[in-house]
């Protein structure tokens, strides 16, 4: 068996089209052979080295030095200095800044979620032990206050206050609910936590139960997450059989048990009063607050509802102390936030970052920029209740208050990256359409306002918009914000308002010039054949579903505008870029 003393990883981090990794690899091996080190050093082509657009990057292990923009001519000195002598070459060296910080996802991808012993092995349930054996409920709430943890579900209400209110109400029964009804398009942080580290959420719930004096808790998880439900159910059974749920947990006087309730997939059931109605077996519609659930919640009893991510933070807070937790983050937003970064981004997935990091760091340093290599246009945060943040605000530190100032919200953590090819009017229409679909219909501002706004947006994207429409959109949005019963209706207009705020010119282009600058709105597009470029191959004619391209291989082809359905299939099919899309 070969025993290597060093490993060299290499990768060309420029765009995939000009990937030189293989050439560089061959050269490196050759030079290594010349210095007769082939037996001692293994050279490996990596798939990703975590930095992007920095030329050829190499990493030497176990030295853990990284070089960027490496040229073929650098290879001999890398071999001589770094590999033979172990001396780093300062002029080439880069340090990858550790931008991520894992608190919520601390065990995700590390432990076996179906094995309770794995969880205990990474200090699982030790926070619960500390809480039950050494602390009073008041002290628990005090510690939560020190941590400064705010709800990760969207609104950012301080968790300790919710707990304190629920504790203060005298009642024979109280409840803890875990809100796992994650419904924002593109957001799946909670699913990953439930699937990857279910016990940490359970532990957080038991601690919450102890703090407010509850004996019973409910997991509310959407039925579209079958694997999460399965793993939570297994975790609850395992915890119960170990005496970590049930009567007299860990020999204390505290008893607490959990049950799972499935949501049928209505977006509005993520709203706490609708969620409670759904657990009670009623139709999932919200009711006016106050009274807040912490006073009058499930079955009319004081109830604390916390989001999955919020609960997953709790064991960590009690293991390390509230003060320690509060060291991370900004003045008003403590700890970390998990984002599900999707859309036109190179590396889509989950990132967990300390509050106060900039959007630019998330998009470019962690996720590698846009997948198309094109200019980033905007970042959408907060799902259908949020808004878009244009590229010029990428350097804003991310926290609850800053995002709100920009007209968006932190929300549950969906982050959708958009590039030049995305039409913001179309995006606003998509999100509003989502809320219109999901509106429960109980209150008229949301039911009627949403539908009317959607009609206006559809009109604009079809080239039938009027300039007064912009003022009308704003007027309806204002009424919805003021008069809707729950957060769904109050925030449904946010994507429209924020796109008008930052991209009014794009709306006007649609309305006045009947053009979609990013060619996304198909009704506004027109296709023509550039005759000089056309090779008369006939592919476009074959693809056209409307028979709108008459002609022959001898005479060439033209697109009949009155027959064209603007599907864009000819544009996609043409190998010679001879079709002009306007």
């Amino acid at each position: 068996m070969a025993v290597y003393t060093k490993t060299v990883l290499l990768k060309d981090t420029n765009l995939a089209q000009e990937d030189r990794t293989r050439d560089f690899y061959t050269t490196f091996l050759q030079k290594l052979g010349e210095s007769s080190l082939s037996e001692l050093v293994q050279v490996v082509r990596a798939a990703d080295v975590g930095v992007y657009n920095q030329g050829v990057v190499i990493k030497v292990m176990p030295d853990n030095v990284m070089y960027a923009h490496v040229k073929d001519s650098d290879i001999p000195r890398i071999i001589d200095a770094t590999i033979k002598e172990g001396t780093p070459l300062v002029d080439l060296q880069i340090k990858r800044a550790g931008k991520q910080l894992r608190i919520v996802l601390r065990n995700c991808g590390t432990i076996d979620p179906e094995n309770i012993r794995d969880y205990i092995g990474v200090d699982g349930y030790l926070a619960l032990k500390k809480v039950l054996l050494e602390m009073t409920p008041e002290k628990v709430i005090e510690e939560m206050k020190k941590s400064g943890l705010r709800g990760r579900g969207g609104a950012g209400f301080p968790t300790w206050m919710k707990w304190k209110f629920a504790r203060a109400v005298a009642a024979d029964e109280k409840y803890v609910i875990c809100n796992g009804d994650e419904g924002d398009p593109g957001a799946y942080m909670d699913r990953s936590v439930l699937e990857g580290d279910p016990h940490s959420v359970i532990e957080g719930m038991v601690i919450a139960g102890f703090a407010i004096g509850a004996a019973k808790g409910y997991f509310y998880i959407r039925a579209e997450y079958p694997l999460a439900v399965e793993r939570i159910q297994k975790a609850i059974e395992d915890a119960r059989s170990c005496g970590l749920l049930g009567k007299n947990i860990l020999g204390s006087h505290f008893s607490f048990d959990l049950e799972v309730r499935l949501g049928a997939g209505a977006f509005v059931c993520g709203e706490e009063t609708a969620l409670i109605a759904s657990i009670e077996g009623k139709r999932g519609t919200p009711r006016p607050r106050p009274p807040y659930p912490s006073v009058k919640g499930l079955w009319g009893k004081p109830t604390v509802i916390n989001n999955v991510e919020t609960l997953a933070n709790i064991p960590y807070i009690f293991l390390k102390g509230g003060d320690h937790f509060a060291k991370v983050g900004t003045a008003t937003s403590k700890g970390t936030k998990v984002f599900a970064v999707t859309g036109k981004v190179r590396n889509s997935g989950l990132v967990e970052v300390p509050m106060g990091i900039t959007l630019r760091e998330i998009v470019y340093d962690i996720c590698g920029g846009t997948s198309s290599g094109k200019q980033l246009k905007a970042v959408q945060t907060g799902g259908p209740s949020g808004g878009v943040i244009p590229a010029e605000y990428l350097d804003t530190p991310v926290d609850y208050d800053n995002l709100q100032k920009l007209g968006s919200i932190m929300g549950s953590g969906g982050m959708i990256i958009m590039d030049e090819d995305d039409c913001l009017v179309d995006i606003a229409k998509f999100y509003l359409g989502f809320c219109v679909e999901e509106s429960c219909g109980k209150c008229s501002p949301c039911r009627i306002g949403g539908t009317q706004m959607l009609k206006v947006l559809e009109r604009i994207t079809e080239g039938k918009g009027r300039i007064e429409d912009l003022a009308m959109l704003k007027r309806i949005a204002f009424a919805m914000q003021k008069a809707s019963l729950c957060a769904l209706g109050q925030t449904a207009a946010n994507p429209v308002l924020s796109t008008i705020r930052y991209f009014e010119a794009e709306y006007k282009e649609h309305i006045l010039n009947k053009k979609c600058p990013s060619h996304k709105c198909s009704k506004l597009a027109s296709y023509t054949i550039i005759q000089e470029k056309c090779k008369k191959c006939g592919l476009c004619q074959k693809q056209c579903p409307a028979g709108a391209i008459p002609g022959s291989r001898e005479e060439g082809y033209t697109i009949k505008q009155d027959k064209c359905v603007k599907c864009g299939q000819c544009f996609e099919a043409c190998k010679f870029k001879a079709i002009l899309k306007e």
Binding site: V44, S192, C242
Partner: protein
């Protein structure tokens, strides 16, 4: 499992921290399974059995690099933990053959990124 006392918790915890054997972890959350982690896990198990290697194969959750699922992480004595991305059946076989049995890393699949913070 029997009811645990606070002492039992401490005991399991310290035992787990001492254990340091070789392992292979496969990301088996929805994102991983959707990308084919089931087949990868089965291939790894079959290969290890075929070659009679003693190594723990575990399932774990999603580490966040959903763009590169299925993910396989390998820790064997003498090498740092290595994460492979976009693993398929062929790469899984190579991982056992080259990495686990020969301590040689597999080309074109390693993700050397700081995902775990």
């Amino acid at each position: 499992m029997d009811t645990l006392t606070p002492q039992d918790l401490e005991k399991i915890n310290s035992e787990a921290k001492k254990a340091s054997s070789d392992w292979i972890k496969v990301g088996m959350s929805t994102c991983g399974i959707a990308a084919g982690a089931d087949e990868v896990l089965q291939t790894l198990k079959d290969e290890v059995k075929k070659r009679n290697v003693a190594i723990d194969i575990k399932k774990c959750g999603c580490v966040g690099m959903c763009y590169a699922e299925p993910l396989v992480e390998v820790k064997i004595d003498g090498l740092p933990p290595i994460t492979y991305g976009r693993v398929n059946k062929e790469i899984a076989m190579k991982i056992v053959e080259k990495h686990v049995c020969g301590k040689m890393l597999v080309n074109d699949s390693i993700l050397e990124v700081e995902a775990k913070g």
